[in-house]
Amino acid sequence: MNTKIYAAKKIITMNPNQPVVSHVAIRNGRILGAGTLEQLQGWGPYELDTRFADKVLMPGLIEGHAHSMEGALWQFTYVGWFDRMDPDGKVWPGAKSIDEVVARLKEAETRMDDPDAPLLGWGLDPIYMDNLRMTRADLDRVSSTRPVGIMHASGHILNVNTKGLELAGLLKQGNDHPGIPLAGDGLPTGELKSPEIMMPAGKHVGMDRAFLAADANGLRNYGRLCVRAGVTTSSDLGQQLNDDLVKLFTDVTNAEDFPVCLAAFRINFGMSPAELVDYTASLRKLSTERLDLGRIKVIADGSIQGFSARLQWPGYYNGSENGLWYVAPDQLAEIYERALAAGVQVHTHTNGDQATQLAIETLEAALRKHPDFDHRFTLQHCQLASAAQFRKMGRLGMCVNLFANHHFYWGDEHYALTVGPERAERMNACKSALEANVPMTIHSDAPVTPLGPLFTAWAAVNRLTASGRVQGEKERIEVAQALHAITLGAAITMKMDHLIGSVEVGKRADFAVLEDDPTEVPAEALKDISVWGTVQGGRVFAAADI
């Protein structure tokens, strides 16, 4: 019965009964108590640890919507616009022109031994380069002999070089497909724009299993990124879990030094609703301290910037045709009904407000058949929800996870092009959600945007777009509300708030260890707070050593 008491400059608890304390006692990986040293001494013999005496502790941050693929991507070359930190802590400067992108890949190319091996970059976003389109000729400057590819930040476009096109069988006249733009010579420009083409072509430019699903190295790298971001629990929102993949996750997360608890959701692809619910329910008993299983992720529609999200009238601002359903409405209903009957929680990706409305109405009908007073079905992204939709969600007992980062990265695009000013201002409406009593968290959707809940909190508090405009002033939330969202708020949406999310007796000893106090710095500086590391289940992880 070893008891350790940490002294800190300040401990922000998220427990309203004692919002700030100076000490926290830990026993067997759990919080024995929080309070003053005198109060904690009553638990008996202890060891006092003062290593955090000049640090600020918070409940371990919780990322409610990310993908462990963020870890796997660093096995490939980052060529995005924004500076981004890799699992080693190295910050890769953003590439600000096609030339810089080419130079970055060229440099990676010189380090490769096998002349035929593919070279894959990721994170390109032409929106920030005046929508300049990259061509195969650009990538031929990297190499004309090995296949070279770049996956865009959106995940919806893949650029390949001439060799890549050739290997994919696309270097020919007469390609007649909306996803394959052609150049003046009748040959593809090298941009491939739809999943059914990207996948087969991607195989030739290095989109392997690690890139597409999960591998042990990628999961371990994801864990290291979590430590750097102060994250102690993260969802892995949508894996095509099967027995093999569950074993991989179990083996990797069981390692003594794996620093985070992953909540891996079963995505709705590849199984009928009945199989999906039965299989996911069967996984729950396989959960461990660091692998939480037994939830479903359903994808209802596409993305707003890809014009594949389902919008209510009047649709897209630029007149684009309405988007696509990724699940048939009747299948969604069957999944909801079966999941409610089996007590399996469902998180549903809805981007457009019509997809959100469908999810709300479908759940309401399913609840009439299978009443559940604590289902906490959660809408993920839910970017365009109206105040009326939030009110309805609140009454139905739903939760929401809003894409606060999206507002920063693509808010200007939404304002000008996709949904127009009025709806862009209400996108990711954190304030409306809270006012309607919808339990709320906010997310990065890493790797779509970088993992970093403090950045996400900053985005929700300030609502700045990449061009520096405040978009949707009235939907800004307080710092305290944002910090709640990235701790207890996220825990509530995953039905884990009895385990994590606050510094309170009985909970898991999970802390984010910060160099500054997020409640004291100016709200504009929230994103700049440096993270020393984490404590997860009582184990200490310093970012500097991870």
Partner: protein, 234 residues
């Protein structure tokens, strides 16, 4: 180069031709599974390959299944079935190189998929050609689905991409209603052939629009089959 371009396939020992692909679309409950099982039972000696988005969505009658391994279901009569998930091109490539070769590919589109996007993908694979888009419509349900605020535009888009619309469960609708329905459908899809069917009962020759069936399994060189190429084929 005409039909000799790419990886053309020898069938019947005499003619080079591309492997035809038919897309079967339509919303849930329209009878796609019934139709596919019917075609597998009554395949007229054609070796069919059925590609489904995911196995969970299609149940092949168990008495038709001979073996199942590595994601491929072998069906009596030399037919096969596999799921393509997110890699339709990869699955089509696999089907194309099967030995003995298949005669016709049926792609079952998911209930909310747009058949034209599948056809566009088929067009990218050498040695394949799009044969037809068949969209199924449940005579009892279709007007309700087409008026549904969530589904309506998807249903209309599916119709507009169809070469053939099969009006399924048409035995359950009174005759006047059926006539009315056909008129309504003709307005939605003026170019499509509209065929009422019951229990998926339709000869395969009525569905495989552009290619004529090979009377015997193509593993044995059979009589010549006419080569039909769409005029636009380069």
């Amino acid at each position: 180069m005409g039909n000799r371009s790419g990886r053309a396939r020898l069938c019947g020992g005499r003619y080079l031709m591309k492997l035809p692909v038919t897309v079967i679309g339509g919303y849930l409950g329209a009878g796609k599974t019934t139709l596919i099982n019917h075609l597998l039972r009554n395949n007229d000696g054609l070796r069919l390959a059925v590609l489904v988005n995911e196995f969970g969505e299609l149940s092949i009658d168990s008495e038709l299944i001979e073996a199942q391994e590595d994601g491929l279901i072998s069906i009596s009569g030399g037919c096969v079935c596999c799921a393509f998930g997110s890699d339709l091109i990869g699955a089509l490539d696999d089907i194309k190189s099967m030995n003995p070769p298949v005669d016709h590919v049926l792609v079952e589109a998911s209930g909310v998929a747009l058949p034209a996007s599948i056809i566009a993908t088929v067009g990218l694979v050498d040695g394949l050609r799009a044969d037809a888009v068949i969209v199924l419509a449940d005579a009892e349900q279709i007007r309700r689905n087409a008026a549904d605020p969530y589904l309506g535009d998807t249903i209309h888009r599916q119709f507009s991409q169809a070469d053939i619309i099969l009006l399924t469960k048409s035995d359950l609708a009174p005759k006047e209603e059926l006539d009315d329905l056909r008129g309504w459908l003709r307005g939605k899809a003026p170019k499509a052939r509209i065929l009422p069917v019951q229990h998926g009962n339709l000869p395969i020759s009525a569905l495989i629009a552009l290619a004529r069936p090979c009377p015997r399994p193509c593993a044995n060189p059979g009589p010549a089959r006419p080569v039909r190429q769409p005029a636009a084929d380069p």
